[in-house]
């Protein structure tokens, strides 16, 4: 497992445990070419990062999972994913996971800056990492809510001085 994949998986588990008191169960891991690409009808949180480590992290939620996670964090059930609170929660979780992963990478000398958290919504959402040198997919089982969370990372490392 590439260390970026490992840092990402650990970051997801840590953030969900800390912020939502949910112990995610990491299941599938795929790296390299041919990553699972089931289209998503729902919400995708994304954050880019640039510097010695460059890339983007995507966290894909079904509509029901996005609402359930939002309710768990803020204590109020959103009426739909169109509620602003869903953007806030999904964006914040994605930002924290990316920041945690990037922080671990920084300890190895791969420093970078985070870009703007972006929340995507729609139907049949596909994300193409365009052949990034580091491509990783992880699926987590979300207990209590009993749904799946998919996380993609597409990245490259600048090995120069």
């Amino acid at each position: 497992m590439h260390f970026i994949s490992n840092f990402t998986r650990l970051a997801v588990v840590e953030v969900y445990n800390t912020m939502l008191s949910l112990q995610l169960d990491p299941r599938d891991l795929h790296e390299g070419n041919g990553l699972p690409q089931d289209p998503v009808n729902g919400v995708v949180g994304s954050v880019g990062f640039a510097g010695k480590i460059s890339g983007t992290l995507y966290m894909k939620y079904s509509n029901s999972l996005a609402c359930a996670v939002t309710e768990r964090l803020i204590g109020v059930k959103p009426s739909s994913t169109e509620d602003a609170e869903v953007n806030d929660v999904i964006g914040e979780i994605t930002n924290m996971v990316s920041g945690t992963m990037k922080g671990q990478a920084s300890k190895m000398g791969y420093h970078g800056w985070l870009s703007t958290p972006v929340i995507l919504k729609g139907e049949d959402i596909y994300v193409d990492g365009k052949g990034a040198p580091i491509s990783s997919f992880s699926r987590f089982h979300v207990p209590i809510i009993n749904d799946a969370l998919d996380v993609w990372v597409f990245a490259k490392l600048d090995e120069g001085q």
Binding site: G48, G51, G55, T116, V118, L120, K121, K130
Partner: protein, 166 residues
């Protein structure tokens, strides 16, 4: 309400208006012209996206995300033009070309920003496809959008940059 020094958004808009014209001219031999986009007084950071979107993040003195957004039909014609294959239908290659065009647009903007005292770094391009797509940025202090028309075909695409200055 977004609050950004007027000078910054004017400068960003000038980059977004000129860089894509250069890229499309160089890479495709196409003339594209910017259209006036009505300013949304609510300064909403939600974007309605088209079917295929190249996306790149920026960090440093500016934290932002750039989108190049087009219908799949235009993206297909772009790939056919760049690769010289009028029968090309492979979505993999269409995404490759669209991502590369996005990379060049972002790179042109980055160069101008760095040359003008705003050092930034870029992430790597991704391509996002879907239906009824929208994108909402968090902690967005400016949003600049320029719509373009391909002169020969009248097809349209958009270039958007949103984020904040550090």
């Amino acid at each position: 309400m977004l609050r950004v020094p007027h000078m910054h958004t004017d400068v960003i808009k000038s980059y977004l208006s000129t860089v894509p014209r250069d890229v499309f001219s160089t890479m495709l031999g196409w003339e594209v012209e910017p259209k006036e986009v009505p300013v949304d007084p609510a300064c909403n950071s939600r974007l309605e996206l088209r079917g295929i979107n190249g996306s790149i993040g920026f960090g440093g003195k500016m934290t932002a995300t750039l989108f190049v957004s087009a219908d799949e039909s235009l993206a297909r014609r772009m790939a056919q033009q760049v690769l010289g294959d009028p029968a090309l239908e492979s979505m993999h290659e269409i995404c490759d070309v669209f991502g590369e065009i996005t990379n060049m647009v972002a790179g042109g903007c980055k160069s101008r920003l760095c040359d003008n005292g705003m050092p930034v770094v870029m992430s790597i391009p991704n391509v996002i496809r879907g239906r009824a797509l929208s994108a909402t940025g968090r902690d967005v202090r400016f949003l600049v959008r320029v719509d373009f028309v391909v002169s020969a075909s009248r097809e349209e695409f958009s270039v958007v940059l949103f984020g904040k200055f550090e």
